[in-house]
């Protein structure tokens, strides 16, 4: 399913609205987070701060676009770290999404059956 331009605009506006409601200020202003000591390269400079905000907005709008309820978008984004947000930014469509098996069509089925029997794949129920 390909979202329409209209859906894109709505999702983007919604994300901006959600973000401007403000996220919970996680740590007190000025306190240096442990991440800086765990990863010395993880410096939070001014630029990184803006990038984080943009990544947050982008991920929020992608979540909305993929059908996540508006009231859940903020909560879901809130539990992602800056590094995770950066990894998802603009790439949510390329991320692996674990779901399950769809209905199979004839020819594909035969090939898959052979692959199953040779242990390459593990699609069919073992009962």
């Amino acid at each position: 399913m390909k979202p329409s331009i209209f859906q894109h605009i709505v999702a983007r506006l919604m994300a901006i609205a959600i973000i401007s409601m403000g996220f919970v200020q996680v740590s007190a202003a000025g306190v240096i987070g442990t991440q800086q000591m765990v990863n010395s390269e993880a410096r939070q400079d001014q630029l990184a701060h803006i990038e984080t905000l943009l990544a947050r907005q982008d991920v929020a709008s992608q979540l909305a676009l993929y059908g996540v309820a508006p009231e859940m978008v903020m909560e879901r984004v809130q539990n992602l770290t800056n590094a995770e947000l950066a990894a998802l930014e603009g790439k949510m469509d390329q991320q692996v999404a674990g779901g399950d098996i769809l209905a199979l069509i004839g020819a594909v089925f035969v090939v898959l059956l052979i692959l199953e029997l040779t242990g390459v794949i593990d699609i069919f129920k073992a009962k």
Partner: protein, 324 residues
């Protein structure tokens, strides 16, 4: 995996010939070629966590179901409906790994990724922890990404036992499992209660997991994690700093202060520690000493412009009295 996949599948089978026969064999669970040598690290004795709960998945929702299994097993209070809201992505008909990790934090647990070896799975099973895995059950041109939970291995029969989809006990050939799992770069996750350590913790990866809890505002869980780290690695600098930061965020200012001071005795030249100590002092009304600490820190960062900016921010914050 899903019930929904079963019926349309059956309708596509030609009525006569070889295919139904093959189909019967497949449904009989008897793979022709799999078998042979068990994967490295699977151990010698069979092990199975029979008490691990099972939550059969709804269509496309193996992510929430598998996560529910490991979270419930670790005693977290959550529900399948809540997890569907937190991790299911309707437009993708699936769930992303990052969101399973994030939802684990939301449930007050520490998401810790294993190193991707069968040995690591085995070791965690021995500690009584089921392992959440991502598999591609199909092939590259027919991808079927699927989350399941490993609850047992049987080295003698070269088998892996999973809570998977709608099957409470899916027994699969261990080499087939390895192949389907490797396609996700052998992604495997355990969920830890705060205070619980993985059996063979990779210190850096564990610290990353705790720092992520802090970053997302789960301070008391982070504190439990850092405490366990300090029990394991007494006096470790990063763990002390993490612990102090958790105490500070939880408004336990005297506890935070004493941990920062302990760190300064080990490492007097750390501007980050002095910066945070200043905040702990300021929050207790010790403004004069807080400003002094920032001054000492500023003296030591002549060449670090970024740290200097942060310290100056802190100074303004402290002098403005609006440190919150």
């Amino acid at each position: 995996m899903s019930q929904a996949a079963g019926s349309p599948l059956a309708e596509t089978i030609p009525r006569a010939g070889l295919v139904p026969a093959l189909f019967a064999i497949a449904l009989g669970g008897c793979a022709l070629i799999p078998g042979g040598t068990p994967p490295e690290g699977i151990g010698t004795a069979a092990i199975e966590l029979v008490d691990t709960p099972f939550f059969p998945q709804e269509r496309y929702q193996c992510g929430p179901a598998a996560l529910m299994t490991v979270l419930t097993d670790s005693g977290a209070q959550t529900s399948l409906d809540a997890l569907v809201d937190q991790v299911y992505l309707p437009g993708r008909q699936g769930s992303l790994q990052a969101e399973l990790v994030a939802a684990t934090r939301a449930a007050g647990r520490i998401p810790y990724q294993l190193d991707g070896s069968m040995q690591a799975i085995r070791t965690e099973l021995e500690a009584g922890r089921p392992v959440l895995v991502l598999q591609n059950l199909g092939v590259s041109w027919y991808e079927r990404w699927h989350y399941a939970v490993v609850v047992g291995v049987n080295p003698e029969k070269s088998q892996v036992v999973l809570r998977s989809g709608t099957e409470s006990r899916h027994v699969t050939d261990a080499q087939t499992f390895m192949r389907t799992w490797r396609r996700s770069d052998s992604w495997a996750l355990i969920v830890l209660r705060p205070g619980e350590l993985p059996t063979n913790p990779d210190q850096h990866r564990y610290y990353q997991a705790l720092s992520a809890l802090e970053e997302t505002g789960h301070f008391s869980e982070a504190r439990g994690g850092w405490q366990a780290a300090l029990d394991r690695w007494p006096g470790d600098t990063v763990a002390l700093f993490g612990m102090a930061n958790a105490e500070l965020a939880l408004d336990n200012f005297p506890a935070a202060e004493s941990l920062y001071r302990q760190l300064l005795t080990q490492n007097p030249s750390s501007p980050a520690v002095r910066n945070n100590l200043a905040h702990a002092l300021a929050r207790q009304g010790e403004k004069t000493e807080a400003v002094e600490q920032i001054g000492l820190a500023l003296d030591s960062v002549l060449d670090d412009e970024q740290m200097r900016l942060e310290l100056e921010d802190s100074l303004r914050e402290i002098q403005g009295g609006g440190d919150h």
